[in-house]
């Protein structure tokens, strides 16, 4: 059983982070990306061609993370591979002991720098989750047996900040029925939307059936916030927040404190089981955020049976 699954099953607080994209530089390049915060996180996501830009493959990066002693979450999107390739990546990951698989639809090819590419979407994300679930039950989609069945811990994403707002929890429940056991929610800069989503998640039973992990954006510059707002599909950053950071005497500090504010808000929501920390381009202080929020290191959390930080 993966550490992430173990912590979630034990009812503990979990902390994950998104590895900055990797293109070259060997294992050192992978390690230097997470070294600043390696003592804090339970697992790190190996992303899959984020925003439809090609990078080192999630399977390769997940294996690298594992070789470096860090637990990976392998993301898989439906945009670039048909069902055979997706199944191959899942069993390939399991072959290397990678159990955490996070299944996403994926941004469209038009969001990327090779918009002329063919979009695949042979499966959609609930179908991908169900496919992973079938594999963990010892079968490919065809029904062909896999013995012994690989153990998987399957996750998904849902976006509380995109319409149709009232259908998002229902869609997440569909993903739970397909096999999802954790959610790394999409970044959402609208606190009211987060509150509404979490309220509905608790009331509908979603939060009891799957661990909901809220994503937090940590950046070093207001221009990175503008990039997220303009270039990342499904995320809106209110312009007053960007301008607030731009006008600050120390814009980098203002961006950090903005992330800390959203993190504290997320932790105050009933049903939130952890945080997923995302930086763009440059790592922006994940360890510092943990210290500011009073989140102990992973080792301290494990030994103390830590459940939830006090929101500050």
């Amino acid at each position: 059983m993966s550490r992430l699954e173990d912590r979630i099953r034990a009812g503990g607080f979990v902390l994950t982070a998104e590895l900055l994209t990797v293109n070259t530089g060997g294992l050192d390049a992978v390690h230097e990306r997470f070294e600043p915060y390696e003592d804090y996180v339970d697992a790190i996501n190996a992303t899959d061609n984020t925003a439809a830009h090609a990078h080192a493959a999630p399977l390769a990066v997940a294996i690298a993370l594992k070789q470096l002693g860090m637990e990976p979450v392998m993301q898989l999107v439906c945009r670039d591979r048909n069902r055979l390739a997706l199944e191959a990546d899942i069993v390939g990951a399991a072959l290397h002991g990678i159990e955490n698989i996070c299944c996403l639809t994926g941004d469209d090819v038009t969001a990327g720098d090779e918009p002329e590419a063919r979009r695949v979407f042979d499966l959609d994300s609930p179908q991908l989750i169900a496919t992973a679930q079938a594999i963990s039950g010892g079968r490919y989609l065809s029904g062909r047996r896999i013995e012994p069945a690989p153990h998987l811990f399957i996750g998904a994403v849902e976006n509380p900040g995109a319409p149709p707002y009232e259908a998002r929890v229902e869609r997440a429940l569909k993903k739970v029925r397909a096999g999802a056991r954790f959610f790394q929610l999409q970044l959402c800069f609208d606190k009211e939307r987060v509150e509404r989503f979490m309220r509905a998640a608790v009331e509908s039973g979603l939060a009891a059936q799957a661990a909901i992990i809220q994503s937090i954006c940590l950046v070093r510059s207001p221009s990175a916030l503008r990039f997220v707002d303009e270039k990342v599909p499904g995320i809106t950053v209110p312009h007053e927040l960007i301008e607030h950071c731009e006008r600050a005497d120390d814009p980098e500090e203002a961006c950090f404190q903005l992330g800390a504010e959203f993190a504290a808000h997320a932790l105050a929501q009933p049903g939130v089981r952890g945080l997923h920390l995302i930086s763009f381009r440059r790592e922006a202080g994940i360890a510092r955020l943990c210290r500011q929020l009073g989140i102990p290191t992973r080792e301290e959390r494990e030994t103390s049976g830590y459940r939830h930080p006090v929101a500050v």
Partner: protein
């Protein structure tokens, strides 16, 4: 999309294209998606909207088009029957059926066949 194969498919296409923008996937799920064809979603998602829907409710890929799934949920709510079916998990598309008549596949049961490993 695929062109219709054979006379029955041609009739089906002639009826369903103007009304629902039928793409001839051959495994019609219109009734369970608020009579809104999910194959008009640029990602052809059959189980609900992606996370890229714009704040105004329009499509990530086609900014001037309303998200197919927003329409689907709104219409499913208003349907006197089938409304709840929108929440069901629909299986992956059988890509062998493109261009064939979904009417024939419905009555023969062909459109209910799923791979053995599909729960």
């Amino acid at each position: 999309m695929a062109g219709p194969h054979g006379p029955l498919a041609a009739v089906e296409y002639a009826v369903k294209k103007p009304i629902w923008g039928c793409q001839m996937c051959g495994q019609c799920v219109l009734h369970s998606t608020g009579m809104t064809c999910p194959m008009n979603c640029p990602k052809q998602l059959r189980n609900g909207p992606c996370g890229g829907v714009r704040p105004n409710g329009n499509c990530e890929v086609k900014p001037d088009m309303k998200c197919v799934w927003l329409k689907a949920y709104e219409r499913a709510d208003k349907l006197p029957v089938w409304g709840e079916e929108i929440h069901e998990l629909r299986p992956p598309v059988d890509n062998r059926l493109w261009g064939t008549s979904s009417w024939r596949n419905y009555f023969s049961g062909r459109d209910k066949q799923t791979p053995e490993g599909w729960a």
